[in-house]
């Protein structure tokens, strides 16, 4: 009686895993490079307005942010409308031009991104814009979400 040996593929069936760390490291480095850790602690509440005809800012390093919205108090309360640049609230409107002028000297192609709460009154935004004009930072961008 003929005895057939069960045919088996000679190749190894294990998936080679020795290259896996390399692949994972590649992914890791990609995400490390693209990650922007939250750079500022927001002290004002900002709900973006939405618009249809918007453009993207590709060069993020040119951008400096100005946040305008109701000040966050303890709990869920919000106070008066305030302006925040970098990490601190701006007490006096007149200070904005000095701050922005310093930024402009560092980065001549500065774009100021205004992140304004959609419930704010336009008067505050105008005051900030006047200050920006005095500082000479004329390229601005109203941050908005894409309207769905």
């Amino acid at each position: 009686m003929a005895h057939f040996e069960k045919k088996q593929a000679k190749t190894s069936q294990a998936v080679p895993t020795s290259a896996m760390p390399d692949v994972v490291f590649m992914l890791l480095i990609f995400f490390m490079v693209t990650t922007v850790l939250r750079e500022v602690e927001l002290q004002v509440q900002v709900d973006y307005a939405s618009a249809e005809n918007i453009e993207k800012i590709e060069q993020k390093r040119l951008v400096s942010y100005v946040y305008i919205g109701p000040e966050r108090l303890g709990g869920n309360q919000v106070g008066e409308t305030a302006v925040q640049i970098d990490d601190a609230l701006v007490d006096e409107m007149g200070a904005i031009r000095n701050i922005m002028y310093d930024k402009l000297v560092e980065q001549p192609r500065l774009i100021v991104s205004l992140r304004v709460d959609n419930e704010s009154e336009f008067g505050v935004v105008t005051d900030v814009q006047q200050e920006l004009r005095h500082a000479g930072t004329l390229r601005i961008n109203y941050s908005t979400r894409r309207e769905i």
């Binding site: 994972v24 890791l28 995400f31 249809e52 918007i54 800012i57 336009f122 004009r133």
Partner: protein, 181 residues
């Protein structure tokens, strides 16, 4: 002599857990990453005018005045209007090319002026600016389709075609300072 015979310890670092460590880091960065693209409406503010120089004269016909009050009601050239007809009015105004004596002489001369009150909510203002930008985008798209047969967005930044269309329809938007009160 005896010492030499003792089995040497493995000099290699164990590599099998390297993948696990890398995975942990990877997951951390995956979680904290927010690939958010900054989007918004770009605008160039006018520089502060020199006190000694007079502002250049602008013909009345070349100026489209849009007033928005605190309730979001719109007035275009002294006529009440609603937000959804603003875009058509602007397109008509900019693309007039001297045909109607009350509208602009050429797209290059046309200036759209937006004026709000201090109490106007920001989203109302953004909606209005959005409509103006939309009107210009449509006009540019139209010109681009006629000349090159492709939409305006398809051009690369700073390309010759893009600049040509931008020169044809320059965005001249004036944000007037609101009155007090």
């Amino acid at each position: 002599m005896l010492k030499k015979k003792r089995g040497r310890e493995d000099a290699e670092i164990p590599m099998s857990s390297l993948a696990d460590i890398a995975f942990l880091l990877l997951i951390f960065f995956l979680v904290v990453t927010t690939i958010d693209v900054d989007t918004g409406i770009g605008l160039i503010l006018p520089p502060i005018p020199d006190e000694n120089t007079e502002p250049p004269p602008v013909k009345e016909r070349n100026l489209l005045n849009i007033l928005v009050n605190a309730q979001g009601m719109v007035l275009i050239d002294e006529e009440p209007a609603s937000l959804n007809i603003v875009k058509d009015r602007i397109k008509e105004f900019v693309d007039n090319n001297g045909a109607d004596p009350d509208l602009s002489e050429s797209p290059d001369d046309a200036i759209v002026s937006i004026k709000t009150t201090r109490q106007t909510p920001y989203n109302v203002y953004i909606d209005m600016l959005d409509e103006v930008m939309g009107a210009y985008a449509e006009l540019r798209n139209q010109a681009s389709m006629e000349r090159f047969g492709v939409p305006f967005e398809s051009f690369e930044d700073n390309s010759v075609e893009q600049e040509e269309i931008q020169e044809l329809y320059p965005k001249k938007i004036s944000i007037a300072e609101p009155d007090e009160g």
